[in-house]
Symmetry: D3
Subunit: 238 residues, 6 copies
């Protein structure tokens, strides 16, 4: 029995609220249960130096966590003077995940930055961030299309993510913090709307785990991500 | 005529929503019009080194702004590797303002940190932060009293803040961004519930300004802060 | 009775010695009693990026304190790897104060940097720095006029500063360190030669303070700054 | 046809040379073709703060790349003043991989640090580092056993790693730089000697990829890692 | 002919003014012509961690240059966030030079820090700093003796320094900036009062130079340092 | 008797192995006994900003030490976030030493960076680095000549370095770590192939030392460097 009393293949209540920032070209407050991440998409009419003059755009992400997003207050990274390895790892993952479904040529020489700020954390912040970031990105690119800034839709597919893990020997979907902190293994899956793999990160936390266990996690993830993609389409307005 | 069509002595709609973070000992989402600051109060059972063994507590604040809180995206301070001078100036001000109304002996050897994170900015973020921080602090100290952690209420008075400025030659209350960016002078007032001065920061932005003008601003601030104190009491439950 | 035996409205002996650096376009060693600040004005024929091509100049300031300027040695900020919040707050204040009396268009596309380095500290370093910085700035702009680099005098007015505070219940002018460390409130006033307000920073250190107390401090400051302006004119040669 | 003319399931020539540092408790120079990583294992008789007094040890890793390890010189991270996100991601991965096969209780309150320094890079530096780090770790723990510092062997299993990818539509084993830079997808597999999963990181570089493709990569990795485990046993002396 | 019209073996006018800081245990403003360095000696009743409990003291130095000490304004190291290699090299040299003439056991478990801040630079700042630092150190240790803090004089000998160089083919003593910037070779000599070598740093700036040239420089330095030692004794009061 | 049983004027076994990095334009693994430094020369077709458009090139060096190059593991400078003063001092010395024998005009507007990474340290790493760096530089410039990138050989002379010291009262050549850590004085000599002085750094570690002692060290160095120059010519192929 999961602490949350959810069935093994059950997501937490997921909401994707859009239009939560009046300045951003796209925004989404994504909740997976008590995990809440505020995502904004910001369009910048320049590209990073390494892309200048190449006739293509870029999509990148930054990630942060408010100090009291967690049970006990963490240190503020800006005060520390650097981003942790974990933060950098997550923001690199979010950026790669978005770029996997964007036609960077169609975007033109401009950059979209997805800022993912965790307001409250209860496990699965990186997968929530990816799921919400796609919605914010979808809204920002639609805005660019509607304004006539770009002529061709750069979004090739949806992308969403969920974590799975082996909790007390059972493969379960969408770990919350209590489950995550004692799971034997956990895996983050990032899949497209058509079910292709964008990224898999699977880790044995306390022991190695078998291929059969891995496949059970993968199977849960495919189901969960299909549901998340439905929610994304509803949130982003088709 | 103000761009916002407000009368010179009129605050923006102000709301103080409590209980917005499930982990923090006190929390408040404060809005002054489109300016929104999320404040959490976190209790830590240790004090900074310079106070150890002194039999007194400490109250401090940290301030941050989400990159897209503003019209155009700003750089993330954690990625920059340092907090700007402006950020440090504001968090020092918030901390001083709270300490002015706290009996640090009554708090005992523990620290309360007020994290003030600007989710959306439309002028007056530091004064909104102070006004909301008092509510979060009030809730956290009440929690400590109710839990029996402390025996005596350390809160001596309320404290709230507002900005005023000279806009097109007229003294006005509670500047929004559009007003602030063209004001000839602006002043932040931090007053207690009994009307005493905790802090005044007045600056001539484009020119020096006269003592009479200063007094007009001060008079507007007293009125505005009295209203904010009413709202604080309602939000904090008396 | 003040520890210094000064009357409540009496400044410490103030000197403004010019020509103390053979390379700087303007320089001034300002002393308020034992507080000594060395100020140099350096002209740079470029402006910061945000002003390039705007046909106007910029005036900025940097502030530092030698490690043994104080009773006990402080840490060297260059060795620490960052400037403290206090340092940044002060240098921003000095820069704003100077810009309030400079016609930046008349300065042309060049920058003047006022370096304010505290050689010995006994309270009031920021107000001494402002008072001395105006002298160094005045000398540097006169040099530019005499060299024919600029055609129109960019200095619109004088600016000087002093701190006041409530010491043992009495409002007093020009706090030294001993007074400052036990004052109930203190306020820094930056006024122009014509008496307009450039900046007021008033803080209740141990308690809030009343409007009447504030007005007593303001009144002392006006008197003190008038005297400082006389000294500035003598030092800068009319 | 692979640029290297290798069959799809063929590793590059792999060597694991031990005893390459006269001070380290264990050391290994691992080569996968032109990729060369120098690994040292250093025993420290203290543990990080969060483990003090817990009666268990710790294994961690640091990763670096000499500036000219690559075709064109990269910047030296020590001169830059920070480690890149990529560096931190890799050193976290190497540390987790080692800890998955170590009985930290048996290690006692001491730490082993695996320094992985890339002397020459031609793709697959992180998987080479893991494969070599296990050898250095094995030698260091044997040294501790032989010296009587610890009584029980803390090594529970082997761990080795390899990258696979889809190159020109074909799943191939052990990507070199030329293959890696144009691969459609790549995946790093970290498996134990008994074939359990320690970590999988799979990424679609240019497109999402299918589950069938993923399984082909996984199958290649199992074969390659079995061979690497044979080489590890030979190098570490059984 | 030297630009300064000095004879090859002639020092600039050297002054060593003591008592220039009212808080420091020893202080000296040293001038070599237009080069002026303010040195303070600060006693701290703790030693660095690596010496704790060893029954001996430590002497160290820090070096800085005010931004406008030079012809054109340099960047402030505290604002840059780090000390340059040159700064670190110089402060290490000053510290080593002082320790060479101090009995660290006799000093007891306390540290003396020599802060050397260049107020104006015209060549030879590091040698001026060493020469002045000895005076400040001498005064601080005499203070400790007189206060009864230490019982035995820890100063074993004097130490002073001067630079020499080959200017237009001629070996000359005490280079000023104009000479230094075009010298073919320069050498800094740090010698004790009894003429022993504490440190020699000789560099061919534009070409290698011969042993005979080196010996000519050494000979000039011995003469100059003998004169500096006389001045030190006069300044430090015997 | 030296711990190493070498005669006072005997170098450790020195080897200079070239071609150790397949990407660098020149490379050399230099060993002085157990001290091993890997040097690569990298050509970059741009020069630092201060030289742009001056029609000349630049030669610079960077130095690093692998964490376990030493008996006990040191901290990784990239993880520390800064290079130590010692590191900066050494890399500045290596760069100056190379530039002393290079015709920067003949090099054209390009930069050669010598990366000197200490793989194992047993004293004398900086002098080994210089000796090996010349070989890597020689190979890189020959490559530029052979490729027709430059027309004229920019190498004016050889440059090599060795340390000497006073060990148990006896002047000895080429200190190893055990000797270095107890030497009374040590000196690093950098001389050209024709015997001119490029740099001398002599330090009394525990006491000042006499001119006669210095001359004995210098004499040993001249002999040792002559031998090192022979080895350089053999390694670099004449």
């Amino acid at each position: 029995m999961r602490p949350s009393e959810r069935a093994p293949d059950m997501l937490r209540p997921v909401t994707l609220e859009t239009g939560v920032n009046r300045y951003a070209e796209g925004s989404c407050l994504v909740s997976f249960g008590h995990t809440k991440v505020l995502v904004t998409a910001s369009v910048d009419e320049t590209v990073p130096g390494f892309l200048r003059g190449r006739g293509q755009g870029w999509v990148t992400a930054e990630y942060g966590m408010l100090p009291r997003a967690t049970h006990t207050r963490g240190r503020r990274e800006a005060a520390e003077g650097k981003q942790s390895g974990r933060t950098q790892e997550i923001q690199r993952l979010v950026g790669r995940s978005m770029r996997a479904v964007v036609d960077l040529k169609a975007l033109g020489e401009r950059q979209i930055t997805l800022d993912c700020d965790v307001v409250q954390a209860d496990g699965g912040t990186r997968t929530a961030a990816i799921t919400g970031a796609w919605v914010a990105l979808r809204l920002a690119t639609r805005y660019l299309l509607e304004e006539g800034v770009i002529a061709k839709d750069p979004i090739l597919d949806q992308v969403a993510a969920v974590s799975c893990g082996i909790f007390s020997g059972t493969p379960v979907l969408d770990l919350d913090y209590e489950e995550d902190s004692t799971a034997e293994a956990d895996a983050n899956f990032v899949l497209t709307g058509t079910g292709d793999i964008v990224e898999i990160q699977a880790t044995g936390e306390k022991r190695g785990f078998s291929q059969a266990e891995f496949e059970a996690l993968f199977s849960l993830a495919r189901k969960g991500i299909a549901d998340l993609c439905d929610l994304q389409r509803q949130a982003a307005g088709g």
